[in-house]
């Protein structure tokens, strides 16, 4: 294909991505360097018969004019990144110099919003991803040994948790684990504690969110592994059997090595997707116990006062996080590409 034809074919999609993905990223970076204008203050001296008083009021007109002239706000450099809501450099330094033990230092870090969110996001990502891979693999092996007619039905129901909107899925589970809902009552009955509520404690909320995460993403791993099992080399399996490999050994030495590339694929995709965990926190109403980076951005943007600059700074930090997680994928694609040519 000639360069020129390629250009015209590719132009519409390139424009869409340029205008609505590339530019917004630049716009976010710029926005994060500015902070909103301070209101212009007007000091008026009123002199009356009893002496003079000075009154300070906001000059609405001048403030509006300033906003109109420079909608981005004042240039603030990196100060937003370093303030308490983000990297909190001063607070961290104070904690470090005043630390009594390393544990105490980390406990202090957890009180700062950005590090608290980071802590949850990373824990969530690195707990949920391995668990969903294991569960997905187990389901795939189980379903593969089922009777042909049952398979379709099982796959249908297995797809549901993944296909359903994350917010809706988490709401459905949220209502069930309510202390008056069916799962909530069941858990109270099992724990023999009529006052137990999964929403009340931080640890239980975290566990709930992670269970939801596994429930939501295991079908993806299942479907991918199930497809992989269909291409399992039968000869290798048979020779393993002839050599007297037990069922477990067959799985361990034939099936798992065959599926290994798929495991890497699922792990990489899920690491990226779990890193942006957001809807379950809204759905489970869990922001008091767990916040994630995406949730902080959402919270800054919503509401009456849209904290654009603060949201932009968190966005940039999130993008950096994604970039770090993405780098192994990029390296791998690069190697694949070089191997091909």
């Amino acid at each position: 294909m000639k360069h020129k034809t390629f250009f015209w074919f590719f132009l519409p999609t390139a424009l869409a991505m340029l205008l609505f993905i590339a530019f917004p990223i630049i716009s976010v970076v710029i926005q994060s360097l500015f902070t909103p204008h301070e209101a212009v203050l007007l000091t008026v001296e009123n002199c009356g018969p009893f002496g003079c008083t000075t009154e300070t009021s906001i000059d609405q007109e001048a403030t509006a004019a300033l906003k109109l002239a420079e909608p981005l706000g004042r240039f603030a450099g990196l100060s937003i990144y370093l303030d308490r809501g983000h990297l909190a450099v001063n607070e961290v330094a104070a904690l470090w110099s005043g630390r009594e033990s390393l544990g105490g230092f980390f406990d202090g870090l957890k009180n700062l919003p950005f590090y608290r969110a980071m802590y949850f996001t990373l824990t969530y990502t690195f707990v949920v991803t391995p668990l969903l891979i294991v569960l997905g693999f187990a389901i795939a092996v189980g379903v593969n040994s089922l009777h042909r007619h049952l398979k379709g039905l099982v796959i249908f129901f297995s797809l549901l948790p993944m296909i359903v909107t994350p917010l809706i899925g988490s709401l459905i589970l949220f209502w069930m684990i309510d202390s008056r809902g069916v799962l909530g009552s069941a858990i109270q009955f099992l724990a023999d504690d009529p006052d137990l509520s999964l929403k009340a404690s931080t640890a239980l909320t975290w566990i709930t969110l992670m269970v939801y995460g596994v429930w939501h993403s295991a079908p993806f791993a299942f479907v991918v592994f199930y497809a992989g099992l269909q291409t399992l080399p039968q000869d290798t399996l048979e020779s393993a059997m002839i050599d007297g490999a037990s069922r477990w050994q067959q799985i361990r030495y034939v099936v798992i090595p065959h599926l290994m590339p798929l495991v890497t694929f699922v792990a990489l995709i899920q690491l990226m997707d779990n890193f942006r965990v957001f809807e379950p926190i809204v759905g489970f109403n869990a922001e008091a116990h767990a916040t994630s980076l995406s949730w902080i951005i959402f919270n800054d943007l919503g509401g009456e006062t849209r904290l654009l600059s603060s949201a932009a700074a968190t966005s940039v930090l999130t993008i950096i996080g994604v970039a770090i997680l993405l780098s192994p994928v990029l390296v791998r694609t690069w190697r694949d590409f070089n191997a091909k040519t």
Binding site: F9, F20, V182, V224, R306, S315, V316
Partner: protein, 293 residues
Amino acid sequence: MSSKATQQPLSLRIAIYAFIGIWLMMAAFPFLWTLWGSFKVELDFFSITNWKDALFGPRTEATYGSSLTGAGYEGAWIQEEFWRAVLNTFIVCFFVVCTSLTIGTLGGYALSRSGFKYTFWLLIIALIFRAMPPITLVSGYLLPFFEWNLWGILPTSIIVLVAINQPFTLWMLHSFFQKIPKELDESAKVDGCTQFQAFRHVIIPVMWPGVITTGLFSFLLAYNDFAVTAMLLSKENQTMVPKIASFLGTTQTEGNVMFAVAAVVSATVPLFILVMFFQRQIVSGLTAGAVKG
């Protein structure tokens, strides 16, 4: 391959059935439970005294004379005007799917037919864009959209969702087009077609399976989106998911949780139907990228 050697012992077989049974319960039970419960009153669905109330609905019967009631649906669809959100959702989904498939097929086709090195870099850039959480982009949109008065209307969200959709669409269609032999359009070009005519008369008739699968995923992305639509649409133009989220704020206090439950069930039904009819395409789409890479 059910020879004697692969026959499972009974105990193993029972264990497998039990495991799959438990998984099916986990996967399907919440939906069935909520579907059934959405026809009850709140005191039955969230029963303090006895969990069986949600099954048999004694208080629903006391209030409405039968153990099932559509009161939640009536409240959500008519009183809270959920139908408006449903309509908006389908407008958004329809235009997102059509637009992103149109420009995506052109782009994906070009990527699969051009052998130059820049196609690789374009795909890599698309991959990076795919990894961006949409909410981080939203904070970049807000200020310009406010400035240019584009905030709050459906077309803006549609075009934003199309753009967010593009990287994934490109990757998927690229791999589908690579499976269509190059000789097809090359022979058309030898016969004197331009590249576009070759695409129009030779490729379009054979590309539908891949395009339908990709379209399904575009639909799901638009339908399931919360971050973009919640931030970029004004209250009157809200789609289903943000509308449900806003229900939670208002109805929990008024004791109308059942409105939200009914709305949630209404929003799940189309997805149910979709999976029922397109199960094969969804499975093949999920695995297309995986088995290859």
